[in-house]
Symmetry: D2
Subunit: 346 residues, 4 copies
């Protein structure tokens, strides 16, 4: 009953096999190997973007920070929500790489195009004194397990473009969102107006690999230099490429995300059936729910692993107090474990 994170489960066998298969003979270092070229081509194909620049890194924070540094100037702001990973969970990495300030849009976990428009208009009105308007960063799926519709994405990108601002998508859970929307990668990105994507693969089954995709390749070389300067260029690059190649082969990535989403839907349905309160509409592979403290204790005692969300603790006195928690489903979660968890609710 492991619902703590999608950073904690195993990788599918195909990815381990690909590492083993790549581990023969000599390969040019630093991304000059044929497997890297193959993966770049495959990602361009998936995104229907034959000109796109594609660079691999090992962490999602690196993908975000490098993409934003390439889009933003150090005297600008990056617009994002107050729960954005780049704001809350990257220990100032985006600021370190870009020099820019983060401007928080709205109060919630999703960015509305109205709130974005208002934030853009409020910013950048102070001439040389204030920071200047810079890129917009959208998280898809969001940090609360919801997904922006294509209409919403287009409206956000339109609001950015109205001021000439580029758009970055933090796609740490890109595949989960894509499967949820049932659209193409191109539709969810450049066709909607997105300029750069952190295309995540780690949370969805890889050991550690992400791609930065720039649809306009004009800054491809700059991104390469920033990656090296950030110490993110792998010498034995074939092992990054091998993971990503296996991940994309035969739609494994979509299959994995589909399984995670189905797991999540099964869990959500069960929770609802048991009368639990869901705090956000679960559209990808995460659920935020609130249970009484007593139930949390029972679940933990029975071996369920997940995080309370917020400042509440199991140790509090009031057994009835509702405490929010986060339940993440990954591809590897057995149905039986979900059902066992749900059985404990009753």
């Amino acid at each position: 009953m492991f619902f703590a994170s999608d950073n904690s489960g195993p990788a599918p066998q195909q990815i381990l096999d690909a590492l083993a298969a790549a581990n023969t003979g000599y390969a040019a270092a630093y991304g000059s190997d044929p497997l890297t070229a193959e993966v770049q081509a495959r990602i361009r194909e998936i995104f229907e973007a034959p000109q796109a620049a594609v660079h691999l890194v090992a962490t999602g924070t690196a993908a975000n920070a490098l993409a934003l540094a390439t889009l933003a100037e150090p005297w600008q702001t990056v617009f994002c929500t107050r729960v954005a990973h780049i704001h809350e969970d990257e220990c100032n990495a985006p600021e370190f790489y870009s020099g820019a300030k983060l401007t928080l849009v709205g109060d919630g976990d999703r960015m509305s195009s109205d709130a974005l428009r208002a934030a853009i208009e409020a910013e950048g009105t102070r001439g040389v004194h204030g920071p200047q308007r810079g890129p917009v960063s959208i998280t898809q799926a969001t940090e609360r397990g919801t997904v922006y519709s294509l209409d919403e994405l287009r409206a956000l990108c339109d609001a950015a473009r109205a001021h000439g601002l580029p758009v970055h998508m933090d796609g740490a859970r890109f595949a989960n969102a894509l499967v949820a929307l049932g659209c193409s990668a191109a539709e969810m990105t450049w066709k909607a107006g997105v300029d750069a994507v952190s295309f995540g693969a780690t949370k969805n089954g890889c050991l550690g690999v992400e791609a930065v995709v720039l649809f306009d390749p004009a800054k491809a070389w700059e991104l390469e230099l920033r990656r090296k300067r950030g110490a993110h260029l792998f010498s034995k690059h074939r092992y990054l490429a091998a993971q990503m190649a296996a991940y994309l082969r035969d739609d494994l990535w979509l299959d994995l995300a589909g399984r995670a989403n189905v797991n999540c839907a099964r869990l959500a349905a069960g929770l609802r059936g048991a009368g639990a309160t869901l705090l956000h509409e679960p559209q990808a592979n995460m659920i935020f729910a609130a249970f009484p403290r007593a139930l949390h204790r029972r679940l933990h005692a029975a071996g369920a692993v997940y995080h309370l969300w917020g400042s509440g603790t199991l140790e509090g006195e009031d057994a009835d107090e509702m405490l929010p928690c986060r339940l993440v489903c990954d591809w590897s979660l057995p149905e039986a474990e979900i059902d066992r968890f749900l059985a404990l609710l009753r």
Copy 2:
């Protein structure tokens, strides 16, 4: 006949096996897993440094940049040679992470304690105007395949300590140097006066993992924060740890380095026997030699892969012109390939 780099060969099977073995069930993310703790303990044991702080990263540049950022202030200089990896091959990453300037010591590929003393004395005499003296960074084995003796290391560290400066060791080829000296890891580091080590494992057989070792743990938490802020904290950290665990188990790391060094010695002996000019004394796993252009052409035509070193090219007119080259031996190089290469010299 692959002598281009120790970044290009395969990993030994034990390391792949360790990845597969680690790939079961759920593990806490971000380095809180038991395998990471085990690896940290093992590295402390190897270094006979029970208090040392040990942090894993995936690239040697990250290890160097983070270690130096922790030792240096942004208004200081880092003393290193003009062929140091941190100066020539890291695209300003050390400057990016630390803010410090690099001050080049001496003219050659090795740092002498006299030259270091002179450089330290020349620096830091301009009050608030000049950069201030900061850490000394020593590369062991050097970028030219030579190794500092323990006496030399002690003399360098003494020169640094005389001015209260900390010492960093870039140990991208730490194991090769250690095997060459036949001493302990403690003797080659803190017993000689080294404060922080970039303990390389990638060039010596891993897919991509290095450890930053700080013998004084006072800045352990700072290093963790810098690692996260630099986007170098792996979420699925067990896969870094598994590589390093296998690398250190049953002295695999020493065995791999020993093989690489033996390969190198065999190649060096053969080169000398054939009358070739060696540009540095090969003490680890790299040889710098000069051959006539015609010989380079013959070697390349026969399939030998290695880099010319400097501005010369195969295409020049003068067949007799001597062109330097670098020949790197890794653990996986078959003896027969070395002998085939040597046979081409005759």
Copy 3:
């Protein structure tokens, strides 16, 4: 009728005279001159802080950015209000110098100790992932012309100290606040718990000089190096010192601030008498008021100079629409001008 800014009026004659007096013979450069030492001693005396480190710079943004860089680590946050000068009006200078992120406290123009406590508690709960808690920056007088009472300052500093966080005071209008409170400089700073002050003199009559005061001198040398590295160390430092010496001589600084505050009180009383709406309680030398557009037009037509505050413009259609504006009084403003302005209101 110039109410646009306290950056626009002339300097009092004493300060010009002091420049002329300092302009004789040779003086050691870079702050080693006797006038600088005299000014540092005088500031320590004023603050009753014999150990304090005092450094002069030419701009308020430099004072803030250098002070914060000395108090904050690059992986931390700086707590401030959303209207803080360091957030809105310094084009990312604090982030550039410190590397830290700014965390906005509360919604208004003043920081309450409750809101600060809540913000501190919300921050720094994510381990290595989130930015860490760093210094609190308080603006006294605030950007809206109000002043924190000593009790409020103590409560803010207590909230910071409860978590071991240092406190910075942006004192661009320090003298105006001090005169308003009628307390000592020590009471308004270190006795309340403040660690570092940007002691402004430019807005209150100097050509361009501010002092950074660190009550704990442990980081004095670091601040000097940061000042030089930031290109803020004046070579002909005596001309900074001369301004500040004249400013502090015979309580000129308090006299100037007193005049500005009296001007402001006269204007505020007149505005209230005319039935105008004041948006904040004017306690120093600035008033935020709302007038109908028609009145703004009349005032501008008559030659009044001040800024509308917000997105409204004189050109709008609705003559009755209330538009906020900012009215700043400096020491040099003639009473007759205030009265002429007030007469226009009737």
Copy 4:
């Protein structure tokens, strides 16, 4: 007998008068005042560069750091000599502002075009691994009191342009060099191939003001934002502008530099007449000479103020040891003082 620095003498009366004249009434802040516009126009006229972007700052280090940050990318190098002010005397400010590394050209105090060509060719040959080639920074007059001829400047700029690299001129002693060459400001800069100039005025008589001149205005706005972000935008900007306006009026700047150079020539002639060894050909306002220790003692005892240059001290035992020193002449130095100094040599 004050020869210590051109940062230590008084400003000419015209500049103090200009400050007093500017100190009337209200002026728009932050460079929007008419005096600033007038100064910018005058500098464009002097440089025969009607499109040039002109920005004022208060320190030479600020001018250099901002100009270089605008010309260089953080993954590049800046080519300069090993005695360049940006390398030796700015405490890493150029690195802080630009992120770039400084690459030292040649061994001496002047840059030859051959050495520059060699340095450029050696750099930037390592693909993504090494730093990339960036701007060339030339100091005119040099830090050793010599001046590049127009031919030399053109050759240096040609070497830079052959690789598409921009050229910066550190003109802290611009006027001294210009007077020495007897050419126009345009000839010494853009007509020779210079892209950006730090146009110094402080060492030549102002209290503290320098101009950054960008001949291509494409990055004018970027420079403004960098200036603000660096905390170098003056609020009461008229006082910077007033100094520069007076400095340029009626060729005062050329007159001041002419006087300093004439003083220097008188001193140099006298030194030579007395058989002293000059270490560099004095072409502007500085002399580097070597005297026996005993003579230094006599000069100091008689009240001469200047710096020994290097590690020698007055206190050493050997009275005959030759110790180098630097003798700087500024505009204000009375002839009689020079003659008194020379008389002491006999």
